[in-house]
Symmetry: C2
Subunit: 495 residues, 2 copies
Amino acid sequence: MTENKNYQQLTRTFQRLSRFSHLGAIAGWDMFAMMPPGGSAARGAALAELGVLQHQILTDSSVAQALRNALQEDLNDVEQANLREMTRQYEQAALLPESLVEAKSLAGSRCEHAWRSQRPANDWEGFSENLRDVVKLSREEASIRAAAKGGSRYDALLDIFEPDMTSARLDVLFADLKSWLPALLTDVVEKQAQQPPVAPQGPFPVAEQRELGLEAMRILGFDFDSGRLDISAHPFCGGVPQDVRITTRYNEDDLLSALFGVIHETGHARYEQNLPRKWLDQPVALARSTAIHESQSLFFEMQLGRSDAFLKRLLPAGRQRFGDQPAFSSDNFIAWNQRVKPGFIRVDADEVSYPAHVILRYEIERALIDGDIEVDDIPALWDEKMQSWLGLSTTGNYRNGCMQDIHWTDGGFGYFPSYTLGAMYAAQLMAAAKRALPQLETSIANGDFSTLFAWLQQNIWQHGSRFTTSQLITNATGEDLNSDYFRQHLTSRYL
Amino acid sequence: MTENKNYQQLTRTFQRLSRFSHLGAIAGWDMFAMMPPGGSAARGAALAELGVLQHQILTDSSVAQALRNALQEDLNDVEQANLREMTRQYEQAALLPESLVEAKSLAGSRCEHAWRSQRPANDWEGFSENLRDVVKLSREEASIRAAAKGGSRYDALLDIFEPDMTSARLDVLFADLKSWLPALLTDVVEKQAQQPPVAPQGPFPVAEQRELGLEAMRILGFDFDSGRLDISAHPFCGGVPQDVRITTRYNEDDLLSALFGVIHETGHARYEQNLPRKWLDQPVALARSTAIHESQSLFFEMQLGRSDAFLKRLLPAGRQRFGDQPAFSSDNFIAWNQRVKPGFIRVDADEVSYPAHVILRYEIERALIDGDIEVDDIPALWDEKMQSWLGLSTTGNYRNGCMQDIHWTDGGFGYFPSYTLGAMYAAQLMAAAKRALPQLETSIANGDFSTLFAWLQQNIWQHGSRFTTSQLITNATGEDLNSDYFRQHLTSRYL
């Protein structure tokens, strides 16, 4: 009757998992965007129960059996890719003993919860105590994953977020950045000091900021039939491809923070909204990786959003809502959006100094997971690297130094490199699009971005996880990832 | 170790079910209040998958076994009540063959979907074709349930919504209403014709209506830490007790529709928000029944919301938002809110003519399920009963006659009586509260409703499903349900 019995059985299992994920995604979005505080404990319990169910379904012995048997079945290219992604999901879930998953979750929650008050209190002593537990358990996890996969402990964690990426390869990519970025940064800061731009004058009412954000989303092709814009304390992109929920936060004194948050999340959203509909509910239809996801948000935020062409396109809407003030002259508005100013905080950093924040953390977290340093060594290393990269001292300033982010609190080691990989991918993709489409630069300059979106759809979005990252990027740009295009982009925009 | 092994196992199973219900409730709320249209198909699939899971968990043979064994275990009063409610849930789910559940769901969806366009088109011919399928399957369901439980087919459906209620008892209650309500209605209409009130002049902007609704919710003690107010096409109360979501819809030409919708849903919400927290996640912590739920919403909407005291309390907020117009004189505003005008549409009916709509449907649906009439007989019967009750002809006017509501489209037979049972319970409860608390009428007249809410909390809310409906109402009011108090209420308010 059916030749792919095992494969068919697997697609049904993963369809169930996808539908349960849908409920988790909406309940998660609601938790951050809508839920009153009294719902918190019950929501946490409901989501945890769902997590247990999903883990049970995914790691059931029948799944392992079907994955093995399906390898012998007659599958086309997409089905083979789907089987590869199914196997990856299964192995990631099945490798860890449930006791470790639980211990890690508890230690992560404890560390994250305490961090919320320890960070404002600059309490490294208290924080490091919890962090030691998290690191210990993350090392255990990494050891188990490394034993199964080969390679170093850190590489095993990296692989969760970025399949096939290794620290050896990261070292090469980042060494290149380190060879030219500090000098570039110095030059840009010096150049910009000569003509400092004027800041737009607030206050900027939330309702008007929201309308400007929606206008930007429209310009950027967000499908409002399949998505929403809401408010949450920490901006994110959630939901499901048929119904993508993005959020931002508003500060009435700051026009650009919410706006560029929206533009960033719109990049994530358009990727999700354009994932292959015909494979939906299957792992092959998911976004390729965190770095490729980030390449889309940074493409929208940096390659396009902070470009002269986009800023000019958006400017009339800004003037209409916030008055025709001097800061909204075309030149000044562009300069204001492209200003470069090294600072302590990663999330506030411009795109030239941003890689410093990421490489610094990558080097520290890799040494930490591989066992070359201990938690107590972090502050000194942090300070040394911030001094060397950005000339900023963080001695005693844990709050704005190694305690500024949430990522390490719950053991999310291996995630940080995605940010800078994403920026490099974005630059390489933009360069390839311009090469492939001779009229593209003219259209972009005229404020018409449709050709650009069609190219992204053609080369990235519609493929989901069908190809490996390397194949995807080579098909799209003619070569595997390298940092040349990122350098060219920064040089041409900022010097 | 534990003497209640089976009972403990059951509480864990029902805790899981409750947590999955939580996710379903939030996804359901989102679907009506937030979801963009593109998410519709995926949401439907996700909720259906959840429904299958819940049905599997509930009807697993281990549950049946544990329910039997737990009967022999040493359980306190609350645990015994919980076991009773667990058994009820299990039996309701396990009785029906899955094929019938599926067929009924499909026929219901088809009928409901077609109804959306058939109602505006007044297309009885097309509608009745689908309805025949729904009735056929509902009769099958009713036969199976009746065979297991004893009693008539209709009684078996009634029992789903209102445990232990029978049509024999309904007939007695409704016969009493029929003996005095038509004459009362005639008298009220005649009396009110002498001094017709003035309508408040619109438009009434949505934002202002929303603020007035929130003010009413505050006056009525809604806990905003554990709930929200949103917009949906059809008002409802959803969510979970720790996070109750109510909705309304706004019409800028009509001030009272949204406002009294909010007040009605606030009654449902306060019941949910005050269900017994210490038994949460267990069936015994759920609301007692649909009629008791409706008694709370009608208590808030009719007993309290349309009372002179509440209307005077709300009036300053109304004047502040919509101007000090003649309609907002105290006497006129009360008269406007208490006007009685028989009409075709149940959901727009005042509380004096409302029972006519409900009893009419009860008599028709009971005859239909018991096989005394067929679908083709409905319009003539409807017309005859509307003529007799309200003096209105619906000949050929299916749209505003037997096709006006959604209830029958998906086989919700047995639900309608809850509306009028709720109105009777509400009147009986208010009378009992006034008897029990000699100072209550003075507090209410002074706009202080806290004593009243404390009484409801003490006598209804905190008990969840611990007692049967009959026990609950007898404990609260000293007697089982009867219609005397409803008659006294209508007579004293309207004559």
